[in-house]
């Protein structure tokens, strides 16, 4: 897929809570085709301490309006500066990067996300729905206010939630949700993105139940497009770049 470098314009910065924002970015012209699971590399301007770009998943696409949404969790200076972008600001992206989730060959699909890892799942959910598959989502957070953008997900399919403190949904981690506790799960495919510990547990569950599982890694990156070899994950074929061979991998392909 051809890659571009462009200045987008921020047309909305929607603050979800103290640490999450959704940025809506408008392409100067016509947005090229992009797939769920792909990401962009954001140039953070004016950061005294940021130097490299920041990789952020594509959260949603509105092809008609040539806009893209990014869901950003503010964890450091780079993401905080993104969170502080105002309407009208420019935002330079290298995009679209990486591979993407593949469509399932069966119909019972669960998308499991935690933290900012839910970002690509919305786009994937929309893509699944467009392809006649009804996605179900299992979203986990520390507490209720970490469960963000739920309404958007609800528009696409059923949403299960867990919180570590039990303030909403099932108490515990995603793996403690009943949908993942049954001995005969009605799940054919799992797509997951979130903290590595979460994904590993989900992948193990999938393996045990012979469910196909695609995980999206968030390794730290210097370039995002295969030039530096900094972002490798260990796979059955040795070190592979998360930014070009990933970020989406079949969980069984990873040396987890």
């Amino acid at each position: 897929m051809k890659k571009y470098v462009d200045d987008f314009t921020v047309i909305e910065n929607q603050r979800l809570n103290h640490e999450y924002v959704v940025l809506t970015l408008k392409h100067p012209d016509r947005l090229p085709h992009m797939m769920p699971g792909q990401f962009v590399e954001v140039k953070v301007e004016n950061g005294p301490d940021t130097f490299l770009r920041r990789p952020i998943s594509i959260h949603d696409i509105d092809a008609e309006n040539n806009t893209m949404k990014l869901l950003v969790q503010e964890i450091g200076e780079g993401t905080r500066l993104m969170g502080a972008l105002n309407e009208g600001d420019k935002c330079n992206l290298v995009y679209p990067l990486g591979n993407w989730f593949s469509l399932p060959d069966k119909k019972d699909v669960l998308l499991v996300g935690g933290g900012c890892g839910i970002a690509p799942l919305l786009f994937m959910g929309r893509h699944l729905k467009a392809n006649g598959i009804k996605p179900r989502f299992l979203l986990g957070a520390r507490s209720a206010d970490g469960l963000i953008a739920i309404d958007e997900f609800k528009k696409l399919g059923e949403v299960y939630t867990t919180t570590e403190d039990g303030s909403e949904g099932v108490k515990g981690f995603v793996i403690h949700h009943p949908v993942m506790r049954t001995q005969q799960p009605d799940i054919d495919w799992i797509y997951t993105c979130g903290p590595e510990a979460m994904m590993k547990v989900v992948a193990k569950y999938a393996r045990n139940h012979e469910i196909k599982c695609q995980v999206s890694l968030e390794n730290s990156m210097a370039c995002g497009f295969g030039a530096c070899l900094c972002c490798v994950a260990e796979t059955l074929d040795g070190n592979k770049c998360t930014c070009t061979d990933g970020p989406v991998f079949d969980s069984t392909y990873l040396k987890w």
Binding site: C223, F225, V232, N239
Partner: protein, 303 residues
């Protein structure tokens, strides 16, 4: 019209801007962004005799105006390069140079031999300065005798342009430059990365799997400039300068200090189109400052 051509001791560059090894893949990664044939040269990934997996993840840490890397020369070996990569890149209309590394003198020699047989590769850059491998690498570039040993041995088997990439992790870089010049190098390139380290104070662990790694980016520019200037006082062969070049002004500073050409590394990650912008910027600077050719900038600093 400014003449941007540079004669690098026989190697003809259409302009002084090259890409630094390990930061530009095999060039192909940048084809979507611009036509890489517009550059003076491309240094492909560090290549060794045998396949290397490189170091474990994490391999990267951002530092103030710089980054540490600990890639560790991940590559599929020179034979794979010759068989699989070379056919794909051999017709790109610029100098595609191979960065060659090894753990022993023999490995350097064997690798150079293979590259020597590739018609459209007009030169190699001998990497005697990689800080990210346990054996060889930087060790060769930090003492005169070992640097001389590698260069002499490779010179015997390699006919084309032999550029030697120097390590900045030394007391006296000019001395090493002089030694490799005396033993057959056609040019020297500098600087490779400075050995550095980063710690996560929260987890109390190093940020790199290898603890230490190579520092690059604007943070190192003052050191790199100084070394280029020192080497320029010591050798007659051309110098290819690098270290923290982010724009045309930086590139021009390296040329003023004595570099005949420059390489751009880390900046490619921040702006994949930075190299063409630098070519344009050098041209504009020459126009505005009354230089008819870019080569007039070489060593033009007034002291």
């Amino acid at each position: 019209m400014v003449d941007l051509n540079i004669d690098l001791n026989g190697l003809q560059l259409k302009n002084p801007v090259m890409t630094a090894s390990g930061t530009f893949g095999y060039g192909e990664e940048f084809m979507d962004f611009f036509d890489i044939a517009r550059l003076g040269g491309v240094l492909v990934k560090g290549t060794t005799l045998n396949h290397r997996e490189g170091n474990p993840y994490p391999r990267m840490a951002e530092t103030p105006k710089g980054m540490l890397n600990a890639v560790g020369l991940q590559n599929k070996g020179v034979q794979y390069f010759a068989d699989t990569i070379y056919p794909r890149i051999k017709d790109i209309k610029t100098n595609m140079l191979v960065n060659v590394s090894g753990s022993t003198v023999d490995e350097y020699v064997e690798t150079a031999k293979v590259v020597n047989s590739l018609e459209n590769i007009p030169g190699i850059e001998l990497n005697i300065s990689c800080p990210n491998v346990k054996e060889g690498g930087m060790a060769f570039g930090t003492s005169c005798p070992s640097a001389v040993a590698v260069v002499t041995a490779v010179r015997k088997v390699y006919d084309k342009h032999l550029m030697v990439k120097l390590s900045p992790n030394v007391t006296d870089i000019a001395e090493i430059a002089k030694a490799v010049e005396d033993n057959g190098a056609d040019s020297v390139s500098l600087i490779n990365t400075l050995l550095g380290m980063a710690i996560n104070a929260k987890t109390r662990r190093p940020l790199l799997s290898t603890i230490t790694g190579g520092l690059s980016g604007p943070a190192v520019k003052p050191i790199a400039l100084r070394m280029v200037w020192q080497v320029a006082q010591a050798v007659k062969i051309p110098i290819v300068g690098m270290g923290g070049i982010m724009n045309a002004t930086d590139a021009i500073e390296f040329m003023l200090a004595g570099a005949s050409a420059i390489q751009v590394g880390t900046a490619n990650f921040v702006d994949p189109m930075v190299t063409v912008k630098i070519v344009e910027g050098i041209e504009k600077y020459c126009e505005e400052n009354g230089f008819e050719s870019a080569s007039e900038l070489i060593g033009a600093m007034e002291v």
